[in-house]
């Protein structure tokens, strides 16, 4: 079972994301409402998958991109799904160039999580850790 961490300041978004990750067969091991808390939980829980909001209030001088880069540096094969209500190409390209697996724009629609599932399947299939739940949707 994939261990997942959700970093998003919206309890609403966290609830929806949690629902879909559980459907994918993930175990949501933690939820953070800021990048700084996300970093702490990442170091403590060592998830294999992280979903991260781009636009969150900066806490303790840690913003989303800094958090993202630090996590990827620490665990290069970490799967990070960036979730954002900012549909700007520049931000999208920045995160994808840095190694984000997917960039999902809020509000979520019926295709958002299907696209994520397909990308997760490819990512974990390549590393030989493909959970059956991801396939059996």
């Amino acid at each position: 079972m994939l261990k997942a961490l959700i970093i998003d300041d919206s309890p609403f978004a966290r609830r929806v994301i949690r629902h879909h990750l559980i459907k994918f067969g993930c175990k949501v091991v933690g939820e953070a409402d800021s990048a700084a808390q996300g970093m702490r939980l990442f170091n403590e829980l060592r998830p294999e998958l992280v979903t991260m909001d781009v636009m969150m209030p900066e806490v303790g001088g840690v913003d989303s991109l800094t958090c993202f880069q630090a996590m990827r540096q620490n665990m290069p094969d970490l799967a990070v799904i960036v979730v954002s209500s900012v549909p700007f190409n520049k931000i999208r390209e920045t995160f994808l160039k840095e190694g984000a697996l997917a960039y999902v724009v809020k509000p979520f629609n019926q295709f958002s999580f299907e696209s994520v599932r397909q990308k997760l399947m490819r990512h974990f299939s390549a590393s030989g850790r493909l959970p059956a739940e991801l396939v059996n949707q």
Binding site: D9, S10, P11, F12, A13, R15, V16, H19, M55, P57, S85, K106, P107, F108, Q110, F111, F113, E114, S115, Q118
Partner: protein, 137 residues
């Protein structure tokens, strides 16, 4: 062709819900499961009044950043439940706050409160609808 995550809809409800909440969006959430819908309703009932108070306080203090965040959260929460009209006003308030035009945000506040109250009433109605089969047992 990507298969839809939310096959079918459960139809348009009559009454307040149909006017305030987009039936298709709400049906998508409902099709994901009653537990998710219940949780999102409870989150909205708790969060929306708090965020509106935060927005009003930020306007009074002249804090554009907090006003932008509050409007942003209201916009996203409304979007998830298909509260299109509220989402539109919150989005306008968010942009105005980002541009430092707090007088414009203040002018939108009453409308945003009214729209939020309508959404809350519709969600309470929706929650009662969910409770009905259980009460009949």
């Amino acid at each position: 062709m990507i298969p839809p995550l939310y096959p079918g809809t459960s139809g348009l409800h009559e009454g307040r819900t149909a006017q305030t909440l987009d039936s298709e969006t709400l049906a998508q959430v409902r099709n994901e499961g009653e537990e998710l819908l219940r949780d999102l309703i409870e989150l909205f009932l708790r969060e929306a009044p708090e965020r509106l108070e935060l927005l009003a306080a930020a306007i009074a203090k002249g804090d554009g950043r907090i006003a932008e965040r509050a409007a942003h959260t209201l916009k996203n929460s409304a979007a998830i439940l298909g509260a299109v009209s509220m989402q539109t006003v919150a989005a306008t308030a968010e942009i105005a706050a980002r541009d430092g035009k707090l007088s414009e945000v203040a002018a939108l506040l009453d409308d945003l409160r009214l729209k939020s109250e309508a959404v809350i009433a519709a969600l309470i109605e929706e929650r009662s609808r969910l409770d009905k089969p259980r009460a009949a047992e």
